[in-house]
């Protein structure tokens, strides 16, 4: 009995420790974001509380001088187009591959399957030349096209869902005179809602967090997304940790809100996205 109690206590201890490990680095940055540059200079230590817990002036600086507003705007545009495109591409591919028998079907499927094995980081040296030659370099179209054109995982997810929709639904619509496009639009697409929700969440978080692609393809300051704009804090705010901290918190806060609101969908989405 006592052994069980000790074991239980140790389990809780490990969980509390893990919670501290996750929270402390974030909490300290949050505290720092509320301090003034004077407080930062007097070397009172990282763990001290800010004098004025409602001092949001660093956030104002981050928003204005750090151009975070236009960064959120650019990220939002990319999110809308990339996610919309991914849903269309993924559902169309899945519909064509699952519902039609045609020549080279296996080859097409193999092309998509093999592409999933190629990690995007490795091919950017050459992808860059292609993006450049079609004139998309340094425009919002580069990340949009890359996000929607290279997402094989979403195609997998849609493929699995389309297969679970009974073919008899298509057939009865066909008998009523519907053509392939009507079947896709009126029958398949509306039934894909759970898959769409998964793709929106997983894709949304990945695009919001991505640094590599916007960093390579959109060097202009006007085209900063949240990752690249935050990264640029490193230069002008060099030693101003209170401003950098405010920028970091600005970027993390929306993620936290979305996570708290959509927890269950997020767990399911990432489990489904990673295992397939």
């Amino acid at each position: 009995m006592t052994r069980r109690t000790v074991a239980r206590a140790l389990v809780y201890l490990s969980l509390v420790l893990a919670t501290l490990v996750v929270f402390l680095p974030l909490a300290v940055v949050f505290l720092t974001s509320l301090k003034t540059s004077g407080e930062m200079a007097d070397d009172s230590g990282a763990l001290t509380l800010p004098d004025d817990p409602l001092n949001f002036s660093n956030y104002v600086t981050a928003f204005q001088d750090g151009r975070m507003l236009s960064a959120f705007g650019n990220t939002a545009i990319i999110l809308v187009f990339a996610i919309g495109g991914t849903i269309l591409i993924g559902s169309m591919t899945a519909y064509a591959i699952d519902r039609f028998r045609f020549r080279f079907r296996k080859l097409v499927l193999a092309l998509f399957l093999v592409a999933a094995l190629v990690p995007g980081v490795t091919t950017q040296v050459a992808t860059f030349q292609i993006v450049n030659s079609v004139g998309m370099f340094d425009s919002l179209w580069a990340p949009i096209a890359l996000y929607m054109g290279t997402d094989i995982v979403s195609i997998y997810i849609f493929l699995q869902f389309v297969r679970s929709i009974p073919v008899s639904l298509d057939e009865s619509a066909r008998l009523d005179g519907a053509n392939a496009f009507t079947v896709y639009r009126k029958i398949i697409f509306p039934l894909l809602k759970p898959a769409i929700a998964t793709v929106v969440i997983v894709k949304g978080i990945n695009v919001y967090n991505d640094f590599y692609i916007p960093f390579l393809y959109m060097p202009s300051e006007d085209l900063g997304v949240i990752s690249t704009s935050l990264f640029r804090f490193k230069g002008p705010f060099g030693a101003h940790w209170e401003t950098i901290s405010a920028g970091a918190i600005l970027v993390i806060a929306p993620t936290l809100v979305v996570f708290l609101l959509l927890q269950r969908f997020i767990y399911n989405g990432f489990t489904r996205g990673a295992t397939k």
């Binding site: 974030l26 980081v121 292609i130 054109g149 290279t150 967090n209 970091a248 993390i252 990432f270 489990t271």
Partner: protein, 292 residues
Amino acid sequence: MAHPTRRWRGVTPWLFLLAPLVLLITFTYAPIVNMVAYSFTDWDGVSPGLHYTGAENYAELFTRSELFEVFFVSGYYLAASVVQIAAALYFATVLSFNVRFRNFFKGVLFFPYLINGVAIGFVFLYFFQDGGTLDAILGLVGYDGDRAWLGTPISANVSLAGVSVWRYMGLNFVLFLGAIQSIPGELYEAAEIDGANRWQQFRHIIAPGIRPVLSLSVILSVSGSLSVFEIPYIMTGGATGTETFVIQTVKLAFQFNKTGLASAAAVVLLLIILAVTWVQRRLVPDDKVDLV
């Protein structure tokens, strides 16, 4: 009359596949083909003609030790991913049993995975700073004295690999937890009746149940360790011996205009990752691949 409709039948799937295939070929296959072609040239990324140089780039890659040394940095991340998987397994097992505040702990452990990489980089730059979070915490426990955690290669790489564990452990954890929870509850009850303790339950019920997800996590860790970019690039820019293979490739291609050499490096990395995936598929046959 039947003829034209049948011909249309044959065309319809291609209408749906047109855009996806164009994107797939333009942004996945064309780059691979080009990359292999560039890797045999000394192209700088701008000049109009390609100058064929044979396997020179590959020879340079394997003989200039400083180009190859970056692979040793992957070792730190590989070691870290062992820690990461072990911790994820532990927490997933613990939280699959009845624990108070289970959802809270689950959320806390998973949340870092969702955070923006640049924000994580800054959070931990401050964490490891002279007089930053870590020094302040150590000061509380009595270890005084500032340390430059990112100042020497070993310390810097260990610190960065630690950040990587902090960031990615949550995904492994949630995958393991999902796999454990899909094991039917009666199995535990039966085991409990037979007098099995927690460790025996883990060994004989949980471990076999999570084998597929475990093997997936291992493969993701290996290819992840080889292609680390964000954390070291954001935090140190590859200074003090923290340069990884991908950072080096990006620098070769986009700072030093050595597109040919960078392509050869990328081809090598791609081949290694494909080989690792192939080995994993052979060792752990995945019976769920039935998409055809």
